[in-house]
Protein backbone atom coordinates (compact mmCIF):
# COMPACT_ATOMS: atom_id res chain seq x y z
CA UNK A 1 0.00 0.00 0.00
CA UNK A 2 1.25 3.50 -0.77
CA UNK A 3 1.83 5.61 2.31
CA UNK A 4 2.44 9.28 2.94
CA UNK A 5 5.42 10.40 5.00
CA UNK A 6 3.23 10.37 8.11
CA UNK A 7 2.13 6.79 7.45
CA UNK A 8 -1.44 7.87 6.65
CA UNK A 9 -2.79 5.87 3.68
CA UNK A 10 -2.50 7.66 0.36
CA UNK A 11 -5.61 7.78 -1.78
CA UNK A 12 -5.19 6.16 -5.18
CA UNK A 13 -7.45 7.94 -7.67
CA UNK A 14 -8.43 6.09 -10.83
CA UNK A 15 -10.19 7.97 -13.60
CA UNK A 16 -12.88 5.92 -15.36
CA UNK A 17 -13.17 7.13 -18.95
CA UNK A 18 -16.10 6.65 -21.30
CA UNK A 19 -16.21 2.99 -22.34
CA UNK A 20 -14.21 1.85 -19.31
CA UNK A 21 -14.98 0.21 -15.98
CA UNK A 22 -13.07 -0.36 -12.75
CA UNK A 23 -13.68 -2.67 -9.79
CA UNK A 24 -11.76 -2.72 -6.51
CA UNK A 25 -11.88 -3.80 -2.88
CA UNK A 26 -8.90 -1.63 -1.90
CA UNK A 27 -10.04 0.91 0.75
CA UNK A 28 -7.48 3.42 -0.50
CA UNK A 29 -8.84 3.50 -4.05
CA UNK A 30 -11.25 6.18 -5.22
CA UNK A 31 -12.83 5.87 -8.67
CA UNK A 32 -13.60 9.17 -10.32
CA UNK A 33 -15.21 10.41 -13.51
CA UNK A 34 -16.96 13.37 -15.11
CA UNK A 35 -20.33 12.78 -16.74
CA UNK A 36 -22.45 14.73 -19.17
CA UNK A 37 -24.99 12.67 -21.11
CA UNK A 38 -23.07 9.54 -20.17
CA UNK A 39 -24.21 7.24 -17.42
CA UNK A 40 -22.10 5.81 -14.62
CA UNK A 41 -23.45 2.85 -12.75
CA UNK A 42 -21.82 2.35 -9.36
CA UNK A 43 -22.21 -1.11 -7.85
CA UNK A 44 -21.36 -2.03 -4.29
CA UNK A 45 -21.63 -5.29 -2.41
CA UNK A 46 -21.65 -4.36 1.30
CA UNK A 47 -21.09 -7.97 2.34
CA UNK A 48 -18.04 -8.58 0.15
CA UNK A 49 -16.94 -4.92 0.44
CA UNK A 50 -16.33 -4.68 -3.26
CA UNK A 51 -17.41 -1.88 -5.54
CA UNK A 52 -17.08 -0.73 -9.09
CA UNK A 53 -18.06 1.86 -11.64
CA UNK A 54 -18.62 1.90 -15.37
CA UNK A 55 -19.06 4.88 -17.71
CA UNK A 56 -20.92 4.53 -20.97
CA UNK A 57 -22.89 6.37 -23.61
CA UNK A 58 -25.29 4.55 -25.87
CA UNK A 59 -25.88 6.33 -29.12
CA UNK A 60 -28.32 5.41 -31.87
CA UNK A 61 -28.11 6.72 -35.42
CA UNK A 62 -29.42 10.29 -35.73
CA UNK A 63 -32.21 8.98 -37.96
CA UNK A 64 -33.54 6.89 -35.08
CA UNK A 65 -36.42 8.75 -33.45
CA UNK A 66 -37.72 6.04 -31.20
CA UNK A 67 -34.99 5.77 -28.61
CA UNK A 68 -32.13 3.31 -28.44
CA UNK A 69 -31.74 0.77 -31.21
CA UNK A 70 -30.85 -2.89 -30.80
CA UNK A 71 -27.12 -2.31 -31.36
CA UNK A 72 -27.02 0.36 -28.66
CA UNK A 73 -28.85 -1.92 -26.24
CA UNK A 74 -26.40 -4.74 -26.85
CA UNK A 75 -23.48 -2.35 -26.17
CA UNK A 76 -25.24 -1.25 -22.99
CA UNK A 77 -25.67 -4.83 -21.84
CA UNK A 78 -22.02 -5.41 -22.60
CA UNK A 79 -20.97 -2.40 -20.49
CA UNK A 80 -23.14 -3.54 -17.59
CA UNK A 81 -22.10 -7.17 -17.84
CA UNK A 82 -18.38 -6.33 -17.79
CA UNK A 83 -18.90 -4.50 -14.50
CA UNK A 84 -21.13 -7.17 -12.92
CA UNK A 85 -18.81 -10.01 -14.00
CA UNK A 86 -15.71 -8.31 -12.61
CA UNK A 87 -17.53 -7.78 -9.31
CA UNK A 88 -18.47 -11.49 -9.23
CA UNK A 89 -14.90 -12.53 -10.06
CA UNK A 90 -13.65 -10.60 -7.02
CA UNK A 91 -16.22 -12.29 -4.79
CA UNK A 92 -19.34 -10.12 -4.95
CA UNK A 93 -22.78 -11.70 -5.22
CA UNK A 94 -25.45 -10.36 -7.55
CA UNK A 95 -28.17 -10.69 -4.92
CA UNK A 96 -26.37 -8.44 -2.43
CA UNK A 97 -25.22 -5.82 -4.93
CA UNK A 98 -26.66 -2.32 -4.62
CA UNK A 99 -26.61 0.20 -7.46
CA UNK A 100 -26.34 3.96 -7.85
CA UNK A 101 -26.90 5.73 -11.17
CA UNK A 102 -25.43 9.12 -12.08
CA UNK A 103 -25.28 11.28 -15.18
CA UNK A 104 -27.67 11.17 -18.10
CA UNK A 105 -27.89 14.95 -18.43
CA UNK A 106 -29.52 16.44 -21.52
CA UNK A 107 -26.98 19.15 -22.06
CA UNK A 108 -28.03 20.48 -25.44
CA UNK A 109 -31.59 21.65 -25.88
CA UNK A 110 -33.24 20.83 -29.17
CA UNK A 111 -31.40 17.53 -29.52
CA UNK A 112 -32.77 14.09 -28.71
CA UNK A 113 -32.74 13.41 -24.99
CA UNK A 114 -29.84 10.97 -25.13
CA UNK A 115 -29.19 11.30 -21.41
CA UNK A 116 -32.76 10.30 -20.61
CA UNK A 117 -32.58 7.30 -22.97
CA UNK A 118 -29.34 6.15 -21.36
CA UNK A 119 -30.80 6.51 -17.86
CA UNK A 120 -33.89 4.54 -18.84
CA UNK A 121 -31.74 1.76 -20.29
CA UNK A 122 -29.68 1.47 -17.07
CA UNK A 123 -32.80 1.46 -14.88
CA UNK A 124 -34.39 -1.27 -17.01
CA UNK A 125 -31.24 -3.38 -16.84
CA UNK A 126 -31.06 -3.13 -13.03
CA UNK A 127 -34.76 -3.95 -12.66
CA UNK A 128 -34.58 -6.97 -14.98
CA UNK A 129 -31.40 -8.26 -13.36
CA UNK A 130 -32.74 -7.85 -9.83
CA UNK A 131 -30.09 -5.38 -8.66
CA UNK A 132 -31.57 -2.87 -6.24
CA UNK A 133 -31.24 0.77 -7.27
CA UNK A 134 -30.72 2.67 -4.02
CA UNK A 135 -29.76 6.10 -5.32
CA UNK A 136 -30.16 7.92 -8.58
CA UNK A 137 -28.98 11.40 -9.51
CA UNK A 138 -29.67 11.68 -13.22
CA UNK A 139 -31.10 14.08 -15.79
CA UNK A 140 -31.00 17.84 -15.69
CA UNK A 141 -28.75 19.92 -17.91
CA UNK A 142 -25.53 20.02 -15.92
CA UNK A 143 -22.50 17.79 -15.92
CA UNK A 144 -21.51 15.91 -12.79
CA UNK A 145 -18.23 15.00 -11.16
CA UNK A 146 -18.38 11.67 -9.39
CA UNK A 147 -16.16 9.97 -6.80
CA UNK A 148 -16.75 6.43 -5.56
CA UNK A 149 -14.86 4.67 -2.80
CA UNK A 150 -15.52 1.11 -3.99
CA UNK A 151 -14.70 -0.69 -0.74
CA UNK A 152 -17.30 1.29 1.24
CA UNK A 153 -19.71 2.29 -1.53
CA UNK A 154 -19.43 5.92 -0.44
CA UNK A 155 -20.22 8.30 -3.30
CA UNK A 156 -19.78 12.01 -3.79
CA UNK A 157 -21.56 13.57 -6.76
CA UNK A 158 -21.17 17.27 -7.52
CA UNK A 159 -22.61 19.47 -10.21
CA UNK A 160 -20.09 20.93 -12.66
CA UNK A 161 -20.55 24.40 -14.11
CA UNK A 162 -20.19 24.81 -17.86
CA UNK A 163 -19.13 22.27 -20.43
CA UNK A 164 -17.74 18.87 -19.54
CA UNK A 165 -13.95 18.86 -19.93
CA UNK A 166 -13.00 16.92 -23.05
CA UNK A 167 -11.44 13.72 -21.76
CA UNK A 168 -10.00 11.00 -23.97
CA UNK A 169 -12.56 8.34 -24.82
CA UNK A 170 -11.86 4.65 -24.40
CA UNK A 171 -13.62 3.19 -27.39
CA UNK A 172 -15.72 0.06 -27.31
CA UNK A 173 -14.23 -2.38 -29.83
CA UNK A 174 -15.61 -1.74 -33.32
CA UNK A 175 -15.81 -5.39 -34.27
CA UNK A 176 -18.51 -7.24 -32.40
CA UNK A 177 -19.54 -10.80 -32.00
CA UNK A 178 -16.39 -12.31 -33.45
CA UNK A 179 -16.85 -16.04 -33.93
CA UNK A 180 -14.20 -18.74 -33.71
CA UNK A 181 -15.18 -22.35 -34.23
CA UNK A 182 -12.76 -24.87 -32.75
Amino acid sequence: MLKTAGNAPMTIRRNVLQGEFEVSRDPDVVLTTVLGSCIACCLHDPVARIGGMNHFLLASPPSSRSGLGDDARRYGLYAMELLVNEMIKLGAVRATMRAHLYGGANMHSGMRAIGTENTRFAEEFLRADGIELVRSDTGGVRARRLDLQPATGRVRCRSVQGDVPQAPVARVPVTTGDVELF
Binding site: D70, I88, F125, A128, G177, D178, F182
Partner: protein, 121 residues
Protein backbone atom coordinates in the same frame (compact mmCIF):
# COMPACT_ATOMS: atom_id res chain seq x y z
CA UNK B 1 -40.52 -32.59 -32.12
CA UNK B 2 -38.23 -29.61 -32.74
CA UNK B 3 -35.27 -29.52 -30.38
CA UNK B 4 -34.56 -26.34 -28.47
CA UNK B 5 -31.45 -24.25 -28.01
CA UNK B 6 -30.50 -24.04 -24.33
CA UNK B 7 -29.12 -20.63 -23.35
CA UNK B 8 -27.22 -20.36 -20.06
CA UNK B 9 -26.57 -16.91 -18.63
CA UNK B 10 -27.03 -15.38 -15.17
CA UNK B 11 -28.25 -12.07 -16.58
CA UNK B 12 -32.00 -12.00 -17.36
CA UNK B 13 -31.40 -8.97 -19.60
CA UNK B 14 -28.88 -10.85 -21.68
CA UNK B 15 -31.09 -13.94 -21.86
CA UNK B 16 -33.89 -11.74 -23.16
CA UNK B 17 -31.90 -10.21 -26.05
CA UNK B 18 -30.49 -13.62 -26.86
CA UNK B 19 -33.99 -15.09 -26.90
CA UNK B 20 -35.15 -12.35 -29.28
CA UNK B 21 -32.24 -13.03 -31.63
CA UNK B 22 -32.79 -16.79 -31.62
CA UNK B 23 -36.56 -16.92 -31.81
CA UNK B 24 -36.38 -14.32 -34.59
CA UNK B 25 -34.37 -16.86 -36.56
CA UNK B 26 -36.97 -19.55 -35.93
CA UNK B 27 -35.37 -21.38 -33.02
CA UNK B 28 -37.13 -22.68 -29.94
CA UNK B 29 -35.33 -21.46 -26.81
CA UNK B 30 -35.03 -22.78 -23.26
CA UNK B 31 -33.17 -20.75 -20.62
CA UNK B 32 -31.10 -21.58 -17.56
CA UNK B 33 -29.71 -19.04 -15.09
CA UNK B 34 -26.45 -20.86 -14.39
CA UNK B 35 -24.55 -24.08 -14.99
CA UNK B 36 -26.34 -26.05 -12.29
CA UNK B 37 -29.80 -25.12 -13.58
CA UNK B 38 -28.63 -26.14 -17.05
CA UNK B 39 -27.36 -29.52 -15.82
CA UNK B 40 -30.67 -30.14 -14.10
CA UNK B 41 -32.65 -29.52 -17.29
CA UNK B 42 -30.21 -31.57 -19.33
CA UNK B 43 -30.84 -34.60 -17.11
CA UNK B 44 -34.12 -35.10 -18.94
CA UNK B 45 -33.79 -33.16 -22.20
CA UNK B 46 -31.57 -33.17 -25.27
CA UNK B 47 -31.23 -29.75 -26.94
CA UNK B 48 -29.81 -29.21 -30.42
CA UNK B 49 -27.30 -26.68 -29.08
CA UNK B 50 -26.12 -25.08 -25.82
CA UNK B 51 -25.01 -21.43 -25.73
CA UNK B 52 -23.33 -20.61 -22.43
CA UNK B 53 -21.78 -17.64 -20.69
CA UNK B 54 -18.63 -18.24 -18.64
CA UNK B 55 -18.86 -16.13 -15.48
CA UNK B 56 -21.85 -17.37 -13.49
CA UNK B 57 -22.51 -18.25 -9.85
CA UNK B 58 -22.77 -21.83 -8.55
CA UNK B 59 -21.36 -23.47 -11.69
CA UNK B 60 -19.59 -21.48 -14.39
CA UNK B 61 -19.72 -22.13 -18.12
CA UNK B 62 -16.39 -23.92 -18.41
CA UNK B 63 -17.24 -26.33 -15.58
CA UNK B 64 -20.61 -26.91 -17.25
CA UNK B 65 -18.90 -27.89 -20.51
CA UNK B 66 -16.53 -30.26 -18.71
CA UNK B 67 -19.44 -31.93 -16.92
CA UNK B 68 -21.41 -32.30 -20.15
CA UNK B 69 -18.51 -33.77 -22.08
CA UNK B 70 -18.12 -36.42 -19.39
CA UNK B 71 -21.61 -37.71 -20.27
CA UNK B 72 -21.75 -40.13 -23.17
CA UNK B 73 -24.98 -38.63 -24.52
CA UNK B 74 -23.51 -35.11 -24.58
CA UNK B 75 -20.18 -35.86 -26.30
CA UNK B 76 -21.34 -34.58 -29.70
CA UNK B 77 -23.68 -31.84 -28.52
CA UNK B 78 -22.61 -28.48 -30.02
CA UNK B 79 -21.71 -25.99 -27.28
CA UNK B 80 -20.97 -22.35 -28.05
CA UNK B 81 -19.42 -20.04 -25.47
CA UNK B 82 -20.86 -16.49 -25.58
CA UNK B 83 -18.82 -14.27 -23.32
CA UNK B 84 -17.34 -10.89 -22.42
CA UNK B 85 -14.07 -12.67 -21.63
CA UNK B 86 -11.27 -11.80 -24.03
CA UNK B 87 -8.18 -13.37 -22.46
CA UNK B 88 -6.55 -15.97 -24.75
CA UNK B 89 -6.14 -18.24 -21.70
CA UNK B 90 -9.93 -18.32 -21.22
CA UNK B 91 -10.44 -19.25 -24.86
CA UNK B 92 -7.83 -21.99 -24.55
CA UNK B 93 -9.61 -23.32 -21.45
CA UNK B 94 -12.94 -23.34 -23.29
CA UNK B 95 -11.39 -25.24 -26.16
CA UNK B 96 -9.74 -27.74 -23.81
CA UNK B 97 -13.02 -28.20 -21.94
CA UNK B 98 -14.69 -29.25 -25.18
CA UNK B 99 -16.47 -26.14 -26.44
CA UNK B 100 -17.44 -26.16 -30.11
CA UNK B 101 -16.88 -22.45 -30.60
CA UNK B 102 -16.37 -19.05 -29.05
CA UNK B 103 -18.43 -15.90 -29.65
CA UNK B 104 -17.47 -12.53 -28.23
CA UNK B 105 -20.01 -10.21 -26.66
CA UNK B 106 -21.51 -7.85 -27.57
CA UNK B 107 -22.87 -10.34 -30.06
CA UNK B 108 -24.04 -9.63 -33.57
CA UNK B 109 -27.29 -11.55 -34.20
CA UNK B 110 -26.37 -12.29 -37.82
CA UNK B 111 -22.94 -13.66 -36.91
CA UNK B 112 -24.47 -15.65 -34.07
CA UNK B 113 -27.11 -17.25 -36.26
CA UNK B 114 -24.56 -17.91 -38.98
CA UNK B 115 -22.36 -19.74 -36.44
CA UNK B 116 -25.37 -21.74 -35.26
CA UNK B 117 -26.11 -22.86 -38.82
CA UNK B 118 -22.52 -24.06 -39.14
CA UNK B 119 -22.48 -26.13 -35.95
CA UNK B 120 -25.96 -27.68 -36.16
CA UNK B 121 -26.02 -30.52 -38.60
Amino acid sequence: MTKAILTVDDSPSLRMVLREALTGAGHKVVEAEDGLAALEWLETHQPKLVITDITMPRLDGLALIERLRSREAMRDLPILVLTTESAPASKARARAAGATGWIAKPFDPEKLNSAIRRVIH
